[in-house]
């Protein structure tokens, strides 16, 4: 619980710091506006705090490096991770704040705001949701996070080959993400030498996993793949462990949450994520990691990285557009993205495809005593 508190305190602290007021004189003109559409309240607020911390650090760096000719202002709109609130927030960002760039998270939010951003030609960047249905929502909708099917695909060789886990059971929330993971396990496990022995769909609001655990044990898996997100993940892990599922647990990047890390039952959990080397990486990565620790007093997570990258991308593309003498609009920024394609970001070079999806290397991590150890990738 302390972990959850951190996010809020961190955010509050930085909100109070209000780093951009009074500096406008140094750089000319009205500030650019980066809008965020994150859940700042409700059951998914923990993510909102984490996302914002990454974006905020990137804005500070953009400011320090004088990347853009104007200051940048962060405008936060609370979505509660719900589509209706997101549409209101996006309309405000587009029409009132005249946002040059928006950051989104969560699948339903992304899908709800995509038509608005599309019409208004405002770039929307997702660094949190990983449902494969997020690809190609709009020419102005980009993903700086490898979508989940890439992650699951990368896990299979390790799982079957090195851990000898051939019989996999899946506990999943039946949304497009869970569906995609189910499809990949069903189709690609056999190719890797494994087998999907059972799949158990749970409602997103379910809290009671004892009976599910009994069904999971019955199919005698070597490993259990969990595809959910938010607070429910901890409950699934505890529910399975408490009820006699002692097998290997594995999942995807959504597990990278403090509440999961601090859960004793999650010890030994394996999950995939974007490959980022905070110690041995390049200068950008090391600077990010060092400043993040300084500002927040803790290790950065992959979501901090993604939203840092999503915001840094604005700085990089904006610089390019400004240099060409253009205005920072959706079309000019998109043209710049498609022209350059590769960008120096935290974790290494990020390369974008035609639809605006970033491809990245995937690593397999193991959670041990609250720390992540890289196992493969």
């Amino acid at each position: 619980m302390t972990a959850i508190r951190f996010g809020r305190r961190g955010l509050l602290g930085s909100a109070l710091a209000a780093p951009f007021i009074g500096r406008a004189s140094a750089q000319g003109g009205d500030p650019y506006v980066v809008g965020t559409l994150f859940p700042l309240s409700g059951p998914n607020a923990e993510y909102g705090g984490v996302f914002t911390a990454g974006a905020q650090l990137a804005l500070e760096h953009i400011e320090q490096d004088r990347m853009l000719k104007r200051p940048v202002r962060l405008q936060a709109e609370d979505t509660q991770a719900l589509p209706q609130q997101a549409v209101v927030g996006m309309n405000k960002l587009v029409n009132v704040d005249r946002a040059n760039w928006t950051l989104v998270g969560f699948t339903a939010v992304s899908k709800a705001v995509a038509p608005i951003g599309d019409r208004a030609k405002v770039i929307m960047v997702n660094g949190g949701a990983v449902g494969p249905d997020l690809s190609g929502l709009s020419p102005y909708f980009w993903n700086v996070i490898p979508l989940a099917h890439l992650e699951t695909r990368a896990l299979l060789p390790y799982l079957v080959g090195q851990r000898g886990a051939k019989r996999i059971a899946l506990v999943y929330v039946d949304d497009p993400l869970g569906d995609a993971i189910l499809g990949i396990l069903r189709d690609e496990l056999p190719k890797a030498g494994g087998q999907l022995v059972g799949s158990f769909s749970v409602p997103r609001t379910a809290q009671q996993f004892g009976p599910v655990a009994a069904r999971v044990r019955q199919v005698r898996p070597d490993a259990v793949y969990i595809a959910s997100f938010g607070a429910q993940q901890s409950q699934i892990i505890k529910g399975l462990r408490d009820n006699g599922v002692s097998q290997l647990l594995c999942s995807y990047s959504a597990m990278n949450l403090d509440s999961v890390r601090s859960l004793p039952e999650a010890n030994g959990l394996i999950f995939t994520g974007q490959k980022v080397d905070f110690e041995g990486g390049d200068a950008i990565t090391r600077r990010f990691a060092a400043d993040f620790r300084k500002a927040n007093g803790k290790e950065p997570t992959i979501y901090n990285v993604n939203y840092y990258n999503a915001t840094r991308l604005f700085g990089l593309l904006g610089q390019q557009v400004e240099a060409e003498g253009g205005q920072l609009g959706g079309d000019s920024l998109r043209a710049a993205l498609l022209k350059t394609r590769k960008f120096p970001l935290v974790g290494g070079t990020g390369e974008f495809d035609d639809a605006g999806n970033m491809m990245a290397a995937i690593e397999v991590n193991e959670l041990r005593d609250g720390r992540l150890n890289r196992l493969a990738g």
Binding site: F209, V212, A214, R215, Q235, D242
Partner: protein, 292 residues
């Protein structure tokens, strides 16, 4: 059908059912005695659970934590009676007015708990909830025996209180006929405070058990409230025994339904049971009062 799986699901359902039975008995006691549809019973549950988690994390002795949780539950219950329900009933007591007022309080509690304790998952880390294999393929945790034991002891104690003590008999009389109580010179308002205290206290052990097993989140009260309400109706309004039995039944149904249906339907099962009863047997299992 796999007999061991049936046994496992049955035992798991009983453990959940014991928790539901405790909250349902509290709700049924309050509703049956005072006719207040105490929707904020879920909020009592949430508060008690979080107080226990807080005490546990602060390193208090567990017994102290239990006491604190019960105390908070009782105080909240009494507070609701004194400051919300009584003023409303003084000028008019339509069911909907009470329902909305209590619902409002539940929303406030849920969000305050989220603000103070953080949103998301909260639990106490204990080995009590770690299951071990007791029979081939059947896993049972110590908390199972705790849950069953607590539920049985409290239920027996409550029944004894209601039938053997003066106050208990007066409570039952209040349920039957409030005017009679007044005619005998007893204070119906003091009795209804007592009812709220007792009913709310029953939510505390249930909340603690849930903090140990599935864990809590700030919205857990909604679910608990729905189940208590369902159990009260399935059991038959006015019957404590009915509510407790129905609570166990709902827990078991939620678990056993996995034998025939896919896992995502577990939650819907309890509400299907509720629907069936409301439509076809509104007096419930042990109903003494006809559906009005």
């Amino acid at each position: 059908m796999d007999a061991m799986l049936v046994l496992q699901l049955l035992l798991g359902g009983l453990q959940t059912g014991a928790i539901y039975a405790l909250t349902a008995a509290g709700f049924a006691l309050i509703f049956g005695t005072t006719r207040v549809f105490h929707v904020a019973h879920g909020a009592t549950f949430t508060l008690a659970g979080y107080v226990f988690v807080f005490a546990w994390n602060a390193g208090w002795h567990p017994a102290l934590g239990v006491l604190a949780a019960v105390a908070v539950a009782v105080l909240f219950g009494i507070g609701m009676e004194r400051f919300v329900y009584r003023p409303i009933q003084r000028h008019e007591g339509s069911f909907f007015t009470v329902f909305v007022a209590a619902f409002g309080v539940s929303i406030v509690v849920q969000n305050l708990v989220g603000m103070v304790a953080g949103r998301g998952f909260a639990n106490v880390d204990t080995t009590l909830s770690r299951a071990v294999e007791v029979l081939p393929e059947v896993f049972l945790a110590q908390v199972f025996w705790v849950a069953i034991g607590v539920a049985v002891v409290l239920f027996v104690a409550l029944t004894a209180f209601l039938s053997r003590t003066h106050a208990g008999v007066a409570l039952r009389a209040l349920a039957q006929n409030p005017d009679l109580i007044r005619a005998y010179g007893l204070s119906s308002s003091r009795l209804s405070v007592l009812t709220f205290a007792l009913g709310s206290a029953l939510a505390a052990p249930a909340a603690i058990l849930m903090a140990m097993t599935t864990g809590l989140n700030e919205a857990v009260g909604n679910h608990v409230m729905l189940l208590s309400m369902a159990a009260t109706m399935v059991g038959g309004v006015g019957s404590l025994r009915g509510a407790a039995v129905a609570g166990v039944l709902l827990g078991v149904a939620e678990s056993l339904v996995l034998l025939v249906l896919d896992t995502q339907w577990a939650e819907a099962a309890s509400f299907l049971v509720l629907f069936g009863f409301i439509l076809f047997r509104p007096t419930g299992l042990f109903g003494v009062v006809a559906a009005r």
